[in-house]
């Protein structure tokens, strides 16, 4: 994906939302309209393993700040969703006892949804959240497109912010020789990778090192490295003399990715095509059991690809709704159908092994992904129409 073709849509710099630890997050820029910035002060969220207490059910349009405290025992996430689960803002990977801040700009009044996700799975503990009034701004298509790209940027940033520490945990476990721990962390760390894979793949040199397969053709001198090399060590060969070195290299590459993602700007077309490509990945890599051929954790990746696709589509949703009001409800229905199907294969916080799937299971998954991929393939044409 070219980075040159972008930027023009972002000149307005309209939407700014920052997710992350308050200690590391850059300062929040005021929204373009500036009308109701910081109105009402921060809303507190008490997240527990079975509850999600939001201190106020509504806030005025503009910049809304949530202080999320995890009082439970599971790692949690907090989301603010718009229509079609469009992610307005989110904080991921909030460990027990930690407080993190979500600053999100919501220019349009309406009904939104808050959600805590203890254990980082499922739809989470949800509640309606009302945004009153409208922040002053122009809402022409270019503005919506700019907001869409900014929204997706928030999404990819939040995923990378979770990918780095999770991969670090995985790498640490490999280097410490904790095979069981490393095995359990492998599909979790990959989840954040798989959600944003098209973005990562846009850096041509980095993807083969992080996600290459043993039988890929490589440049002379390049070797089999990354997640799948460690997967093979953990599940098949046992840890090797150079496993620690491969793990260190993976971490270096992931941090490199993080630095590059901070600079990349995707166009609406790239986002839409990325959403489609993630489903193509499911069809060719996950449903076939090709990707995670040693660990058979393909369904984790399947889920993450679908979530990543939904993230990109949701960011584009206001533009889709403006151009073709019939498409959004179909997308909602088909995403929901795939997620419902995958839930049948859930085991605890994870999924059934690919090797335990029957031909009938695989056919059902193929049908659901076909059903979803057709409307998703229309998004690029619709947002550029």
């Amino acid at each position: 994906m070219s980075r040159r073709s972008v930027a023009t849509l972002l000149t307005a710099g309209a939407a700014v939302a920052l997710a992350g630890c308050t200690s590391t997050a850059p300062p929040a820029a005021p929204p373009a309209g500036g009308a109701s910035a910081a109105a009402g002060g921060p809303i507190t969220v008490q997240a527990a393993d079975t509850a999600c207490q939001v201190s106020a059910p509504e806030a005025p349009a503009g910049t809304i700040t949530f202080n999320v405290t995890n009082g439970g025992n599971k790692v949690t996430e907090f989301y603010l969703y718009g229509t079609g689960d469009r992610i307005m803002g989110e904080v991921e990977n909030i460990g027990p006892g930690l407080t993190r801040q979500l600053i999100v700009e919501v220019p349009d009044g309406g009904t939104y949804t808050t959600a805590c996700k203890p254990g980082m799975i499922g739809d989470g503990i949800r509640a309606p959240f009302n945004v009153t009034g409208d922040a002053a701004r122009s809402v022409d298509t270019n503005t919506k497109l700019a907001e869409a790209t900014a929204g997706y940027k928030r999404y990819t940033t939040s995923q990378v912010e979770a990918l780095v520490p999770k991969t670090q945990e995985f790498v640490d476990a490999v280097k410490a020789g904790n095979v069981d721990q490393a095995k359990s962390l492998f599909p979790v760390a990959r989840t954040y990778w798989e959600r944003i894979e098209p973005v990562a793949e846009s850096f041509g040199d980095i993807d083969p090192r992080i996600d290459g397969r043993e039988d890929d053709e490589r440049d002379p001198g390049a070797t089999f490295t990354g997640y799948h090399r460690l997967e093979k060590d953990l599940w098949v060969d046992g840890l090797q003399a150079d496993s620690g070195q491969v793990a260190d290299q993976l971490m270096t590459d992931i941090k490199d990715l993080q630095a590059r993602v901070a600079t990349v700007e995707l166009t609406p077309v790239q986002m839409a095509n990325g959403a489609k490509e993630l489903l193509d990945e499911v069809a060719t890599g996950k449903i076939t059991g090709e990707e995670d051929r040693y660990s058979h954790t393909d369904l984790w990746d399947f889920k993450a690809n679908v979530e990543g696709s939904q993230g990109a589509v949701a960011a584009l949703r206001p533009v889709i709704d403006e151009k073709d009001p019939t498409l959004g409800p179909v997308l909602d229905e088909r995403f929901a159908a795939v997620e419902a199907l995958l839930e049948n294969y859930r085991v605890g916080d994870g999924f059934r092994s690919y090797t335990d799937l029957t031909e009938d299971d695989i056919k059902k998954m193929t049908e659901a992904v076909d059903a979803l991929s057709e409307p998703v393939s229309q998004v690029a044409g619709v947002v550029t129409s």
Partner: protein, 417 residues
């Protein structure tokens, strides 16, 4: 795009010359034969709308792509929407057009093409698209009271080895054309429109019609090398079609009046053993001569078989266990069927034998009084059964023709409350 010839433009300039082009193609194909083959490759357009669905009594084209689909959505509205979209797309395709205006080459290059494009330079090729509803369709949509009694399951027949993955289905699409690319394109695009509402259960590519459905067509040969379906019902016999094929008012539910029942059987042929069989044995098994197709003891293909004839030893000239005798109306109390069969070759099996045979399709007014007694007689006594095996089976209720402004199956779905 500017340099290419669009499918529409091609048709524009061939429109007037269509008949000429058709004749030209025909004369090449039928060189040395007495009858012209009206369904040879050409530019013919078969009307999509009419009293009856096209593709049933239409002179049989040479190529088939048949698919059976299962509903993945049981919402009536989504099925209606799909059938309506199918109708629009199919009608356009039968006229040699893309599924939608500028479908293959959308003006917006960021859009995925609505039409898959592989027929852009091809003529209509006599494409017909015919649909039918299986018994399970009515259960899944919650309208079992609309199901015709004629859709009751077929009984098992001796020697059947039916594979579930090649049998049944909620909806069928039969696409026939004189170009396989055109037939596959039609099904492929309807399947794509159906994603989310239907999913393919099984499909069969057929080539080389093994039945003539018009007196204008020569009888073709099946993969055993014999002329097949000589005594088939023909499009030129409207009274017989009313009697044996078209559902008449009062036969069953009103929505089926003018429709018909499609029975599909995938018949695997044991090619290698057949090929080692003597000519005499082959002719005895079939009951016809291999060369002319005349009934044994006769001289011309269309000469009526003399089932009473006995040879000097007092045995029937046309053996009691021969295919032609067992399948004849004379043996079956006057039962006739309209056949529309095609050869198939699905490559080789894992033992290196040709995975080939005949994809049998017939249209009947009632499967249980026409197809069932015929197949029961054949399965029990036909010596041909030593060389064939039925591996797939399905029955579908094909609704009547689509009137102007209607969509496929509208009379079934809109009267249903």
């Amino acid at each position: 795009m500017s340099g290419g010839i669009s499918r529409r433009r091609l048709l524009g300039w061939t429109g007037a010359g269509a008949a000429v082009a058709g004749v030209g193609a025909v004369s090449g194909y039928t060189l040395g034969r007495s009858e012209p083959d009206v369904a040879s490759p050409g530019y013919d357009i078969v009307d999509f709308r009419g009293t009856y669905q096209a593709g049933i009594a239409t002179p049989s084209q040479n190529e088939l792509y048949f698919t059976a689909l299962d509903l993945t959505s049981t919402g009536k509205a989504s099925v209606q929407r799909m059938l309506s979209q199918w109708t629009t797309a199919a009608e356009r395709m039968t006229r040699g057009l893309e599924t939608a205006e500028n479908g293959a080459l959308p003006r917006n290059p960021e859009a995925a093409p609505a039409d898959t494009g592989e027929t852009l330079d091809l003529p209509a090729s006599s494409l017909t698209v015919t649909i039918g509803f299986g018994s399970t369709f009515f259960d899944k949509l919650g309208i079992p009271e609309r199901r015709p009694a004629e859709l009751a399951d077929l009984p098992g027949f001796a020697g059947d080895r039916l594979e579930p993955a090649r049998s049944g289905g909620d909806i069928c699409i039969q696409a026939c054309a004189n170009d396989p690319q055109v037939a596959v394109h039609a099904v492929r695009n309807l399947v794509r429109i159906g994603f989310g509402t239907t999913a393919v259960r099984w499909a069969q590519l057929g080539y080389g019609r093994t039945s003539s459905t018009s007196t204008q067509q020569p009888t073709a040969r099946n993969l055993f090398g014999f002329k097949d379906g000589t005594n088939n019902l023909k499009a030129e016999e409207p009274d017989l079609l009313d009697e044996h094929v078209w559902v008449q008012g009062g036969d069953g539910p009103d929505w089926m009046t003018g429709g018909t029942y499609l029975v599909a059987r995938r018949i695997r042929m044991h090619i290698e053993t057949w090929d080692r069989t003597s000519l005499n044995e082959q002719e005895t098994v079939i009951g016809r001569t291999k060369g002319s197709g005349a009934p044994l003891g006769g001289t011309g293909e269309f000469e009526p078989a003399n089932f009473a004839a006995i040879d000097a030893n007092g045995t029937p000239v046309i053996p009691a266990s021969s295919h032609v005798r067992l399948a004849s109306a004379e043996s079956l109390n006057g039962v006739k069927i309209l056949r529309r069969g095609f050869n198939f070759v699905d490559g080789s099996d894992d033992r290196g034998h040709l995975n080939a045979g005949l994809f049998f399709i017939c249209f009947v007014r009632n499967p249980h009084t026409q197809f069932v007694p015929m197949q029961r007689a054949l399965a029990a006594n036909d010596r041909l059964m030593d060389y064939i095996q039925h591996t797939g089976s399905a029955v579908f209720a094909c609704p009547p023709g689509v009137a102007e402004g209607e969509y496929w199956g509208q009379r079934l779905l809109e009267d249903a409350v």
